[in-house]
Symmetry: D2
Subunit: 402 residues, 4 copies
Amino acid sequence: MSTFGKLFRVTTYGESHCPSVGAIIDGCPPGLVLEAKDIQVQLNRRRPGQSNLTTPRNEKDAVILQSGTERGVTLGTPIGLLVKNEDQRPHDYTETDLFPRPSHADYTYLAKYGIKASSGGGRSSARETIGRVAAGAIAEKYLKQAFGVEIVAFVSSVGKIQLPMSKTAAPGEEDHDDDEALTPEFRELLNTVTREQVDADSIRCPHPETAERMIQRILRAKEANDSIGGTVTCVIRKVPAGLGEPVFDKFEATLAHAMLSIPATKAFEIGSGFKGTEIPGSKHNDPFVRRADGSLGTSTNWSGGVQGGITNAEDIYFRVAFKSPATISQAQGTVKYDGSAGELAARGRHDPCVVPRAVPIVEAMAAIVVLDQLLQQNARKTAASLLPPVTTLPPTMVLPPQ
Amino acid sequence: MSTFGKLFRVTTYGESHCPSVGAIIDGCPPGLVLEAKDIQVQLNRRRPGQSNLTTPRNEKDAVILQSGTERGVTLGTPIGLLVKNEDQRPHDYTETDLFPRPSHADYTYLAKYGIKASSGGGRSSARETIGRVAAGAIAEKYLKQAFGVEIVAFVSSVGKIQLPMSKTAAPGEEDHDDDEALTPEFRELLNTVTREQVDADSIRCPHPETAERMIQRILRAKEANDSIGGTVTCVIRKVPAGLGEPVFDKFEATLAHAMLSIPATKAFEIGSGFKGTEIPGSKHNDPFVRRADGSLGTSTNWSGGVQGGITNAEDIYFRVAFKSPATISQAQGTVKYDGSAGELAARGRHDPCVVPRAVPIVEAMAAIVVLDQLLQQNARKTAASLLPPVTTLPPTMVLPPQ
Amino acid sequence: MSTFGKLFRVTTYGESHCPSVGAIIDGCPPGLVLEAKDIQVQLNRRRPGQSNLTTPRNEKDAVILQSGTERGVTLGTPIGLLVKNEDQRPHDYTETDLFPRPSHADYTYLAKYGIKASSGGGRSSARETIGRVAAGAIAEKYLKQAFGVEIVAFVSSVGKIQLPMSKTAAPGEEDHDDDEALTPEFRELLNTVTREQVDADSIRCPHPETAERMIQRILRAKEANDSIGGTVTCVIRKVPAGLGEPVFDKFEATLAHAMLSIPATKAFEIGSGFKGTEIPGSKHNDPFVRRADGSLGTSTNWSGGVQGGITNAEDIYFRVAFKSPATISQAQGTVKYDGSAGELAARGRHDPCVVPRAVPIVEAMAAIVVLDQLLQQNARKTAASLLPPVTTLPPTMVLPPQ
Amino acid sequence: MSTFGKLFRVTTYGESHCPSVGAIIDGCPPGLVLEAKDIQVQLNRRRPGQSNLTTPRNEKDAVILQSGTERGVTLGTPIGLLVKNEDQRPHDYTETDLFPRPSHADYTYLAKYGIKASSGGGRSSARETIGRVAAGAIAEKYLKQAFGVEIVAFVSSVGKIQLPMSKTAAPGEEDHDDDEALTPEFRELLNTVTREQVDADSIRCPHPETAERMIQRILRAKEANDSIGGTVTCVIRKVPAGLGEPVFDKFEATLAHAMLSIPATKAFEIGSGFKGTEIPGSKHNDPFVRRADGSLGTSTNWSGGVQGGITNAEDIYFRVAFKSPATISQAQGTVKYDGSAGELAARGRHDPCVVPRAVPIVEAMAAIVVLDQLLQQNARKTAASLLPPVTTLPPTMVLPPQ
């Protein structure tokens, strides 16, 4: 449904042509300094019309806080917020509307509800993500203040143009075991990339040479009245160990849930992901090391910061696939709702590629997952800390002092 | 936590060395003919020791129903069930236990709970999946009876040995747009594969030539005291259109949640997945066609049966990555809990590759997701059907008669 | 938290002095004709200033729909709505604010959140109920359209002035077993009372003689700068049999949850309630009878329409207690937050009795519970209906054709 | 459904004649010393056959732990447990089974599920409460260890025989405002009563004179082949302030939900309850006082330990009504499932009054609610404590140091 999270919860509403889209964010920790501008900065990154790579609609998307804060501080009560829709008119009926748009949600919304908004998008519109981004900005601000958490997403591929992520053996080298799931260069990027570097270019790829090729790829799609997909990689740093709720709400399971709930996503991988399945355990395992502060860390991080469904305090990184946008201007042979054949060409202007604008959405959903899992672990850890210490267990059952 | 699902819900318990593992399955439709043997058949496929490719522990894993049925028919009340653990002794303390096993859950369970079962596995043991498989068998039986739903999973890769899934352009051909996300041969396999074909070989790959190479790959890992990962692909046929609950519980989002909650999983993709991001929209979109019965279908199915987060009645297919098992017999340089360096070599025998046994687990989680989503859509659809018809809407807002 | 319901869900936001209060209503059946005026009618009944019995603040409380409908029909997507606060200024600091108001939420909100809205009320303000009433009006409209459900609440007591509900034996007559939990007169009232009768008088008690005495009781409290409590009784007619989800979400359990979540409530009873505990089983049991249509009904209804936690299609009736409002104008000896003693007299005007305005709130929460439970039962019943009939069970295990 | 709780969750299974009844308790804090005997003591108090006041069935009800502990300490993982049913045979078909028992759940289970267990009780059997009592015993042990929480329930009335709770004005004294919702004697009892005092008598009423009259009342019902209802009052001491999750999961709302989910319950009141509605605000408000430790308390406690839906650290007390058992041996005129009239007399022996055995069930559900709410508040409080202090707020918005 339209609510995500257990203790930190976001509930969203809004179609593309109704008065507003908005959200209620429940469970925000009280006492957090929060103003509209903290949210607006991420909404601006999500907004269309930021460059010639995205749709030129100029939506202002100014967030208006309705509740949950006073004098710039959160009260712990639900934060209501909304963003007005610029165009609130119901959609005018045209010939085009007789077609369910291929690979869009027109047909499935009708199959589900028996009715759909006249504007094709309805709840499957990208405007639905505004509430997510707002909630994520709040979660992120808390996490940064309380733990110094850093969340940075970036475009890692557009079509076949990708960052130098992994080295795949050539065909015929199946028995070769020396692949690495991620190149040293890419791992270094994960360690160091900042949001400023990401925003240095309109494509949001922090690798200038690749960025330029990605831009050319998108422009090629645009000129062909076509579209192209891509992937977004995200790294989360300084998340404490212990987050994730086995067995069904493992950290990566709720993260995958969050990411695959973003419109147009088709795939998710954490750590070494699909490529990691090709690496033998002896090379894929992350050996433990003693950190300077006495705690245990790992010398490699193929696990992506999660082991057994629980964070281990190493960096969390994952990748999300966004398909080529379904709405394209070139004519497509398809059929109308009534089954009669025809050709459909979308009117108006559309994003030829969504990944640059998806970056803040991925960051937002990541922040929501981390804060929600953190609150759940807080509950347990605080409860356990109030019990008298157990002294009867063998040393291998309890965490030794570090 | 240990409950999955909203209306069809499974809650599991059990570590690897306690008296039993089990589950409570709540929300099963009443009036379903159900006996222990309906569940046992899938538990047997999950069981270790089925071939020389898996661990030779001989666990009988006989399910014992506790409640929820009478005279072989479900009552609609919770179905309690359990499988006894053969070895219920607490684990003996050895030198090995001083090490957190690399990439296993020993360290993270301690970080989370401050305590862990003496047997390393605890809840991260593969035995935890018994409750899932039992619940899935029940869901699957309902879906088959009520809708003829077919769920077939199979091993699609082991290490670098994979079914002929997609054709990747060679390096340097980045601008080439003629790739197909899935080969015609693989699509045909998705259309036709049966569980009998899958079980024809111990590796559970329904492509004899590839199967043989996969087996050799696993044996090579076994001989090297090493392990190897792989992927499982699953197809679900005859799921009605309309399942999936936007915007956060989209069909693929809950499916990804379910799959990433299975131990050792690292990635999920639905439909054309990661590869699909490289295909332009004009080729990736699925044009609508009129089916013989007058309803709308699609001529291709790159979407994988889900559009806008809602099923469209086409086959649903997805792929899940399982990492190389963390427990290997060869010595690994790592550190003990106390930070002192050493070498760890796992005792006993371990699965060199989990994917053959993962097949029924993937099927089970898929069945749980479909039934849970189906019940939610039932609730809405039945409610809507009781309202008087709305006659004031333009034709593009309502589904025309087909 | 701020969300109620499982399939039909309302999430609310808003304090008393922020820009607006509002709600997101998720899970409304699609295809329901719905306009703002359908909601406004119940908001108007909730609004203060309707008579000299309630606070004379003149809040307009006009609801503004934000999403979820188009051309006056629900889309099945979340319905966002809001009501602007007239006074959005943060509260001015005064001497009075140094006191936590006795039996109000000032102190407990601080204990919980460590911070509270400067306006005392915050989320404990009666304005919080606006979202509930709006959601309830939507649920009620659906239930009326689909099942002809009637929900009528009324004031059954103010202080000691009560409708002739039950006949209590005089002291010393403990062994007398001829009491009736409800008088025939009151049972007749439950059978016939309409919302029009309830609204005939400002006190919302459909028994003119008692109504007049209730009004006098409230005016007496008002003149004394004091307050008085009361009870609201509610009857729900034409709810189908089978609603309620054993064992924890029994119909009366979720109804009690809903009612005790309304501000100022302290008690709930269904059917014969507390008084019924005094009646022996032989007189308290409801014998079955055959109804004209062949179905089974009961000749009495001490159960209040619920047996074993599940509705039986008889009228559901229950009673809710509202305490005397905590905010009174007369001086009270108490202490400040810092522990120093003093006298507190509330400024401004306050409701001397909340029950007349509580009537639509009780109706709203009742409607929400019924619709939510109905959707859950729809899910099961539809699923069961798709199975082949079971023919192997003895006749006492299945419902015979009626 | 069959799960209760958000972070501390109990899920139960089991009918009266299946192999076992049991539960999975998820979210128990790790590191709690816990053995079967900690649970057994409360199961024994729930067990039938403890005196001539309850049914003489001799069920041993020995709990068997399945998981979640090792060496007598909780692991933080789900605790599986079960109690075997002595009589696991399906019920023999008799003439009696052709009747739905009046005011029992036979008819409504059929209406809901279309099928029911052959043994009438099914999930509405009192055996269902075993899992609750076990979960409650675990919660209670944690609360006692961590906070010294004391939970004591007792029988406060049987039929018209009640503890000297309140003084009701005689008819005609409606304008008399000097009633007290609870007598000083009863308030003293709430302050001091212990579980030992409660168990001193088989009726579990800690007031010997009243206890004897209650016993006589039950024996009178028994001799008449009839039954009688009663009420259970419960006090919870030393619960910290701040528990309860506005606005829908107020402390009393979840408590009412828990209590009304117990079989045979019909009413709930907290603090002064229904009687309190008759007391003017000026007398009903609880003035604040400064406690010896500097914190704020209240000089009276008509609120019952909860204000604005949040605990205030005063004692929580509430009362629950249990109807007269529906199953009685005397003949009742009613109709069969097929609508034909007849007389039904229950076979076997039945509890003439359930309140003595209900005492540990009420305690159990209370403990579950307190622990679940505590965990939720822990999550928030710990999160807030990690933020830098806010210094910009006026003093009336933040809790002063005490």
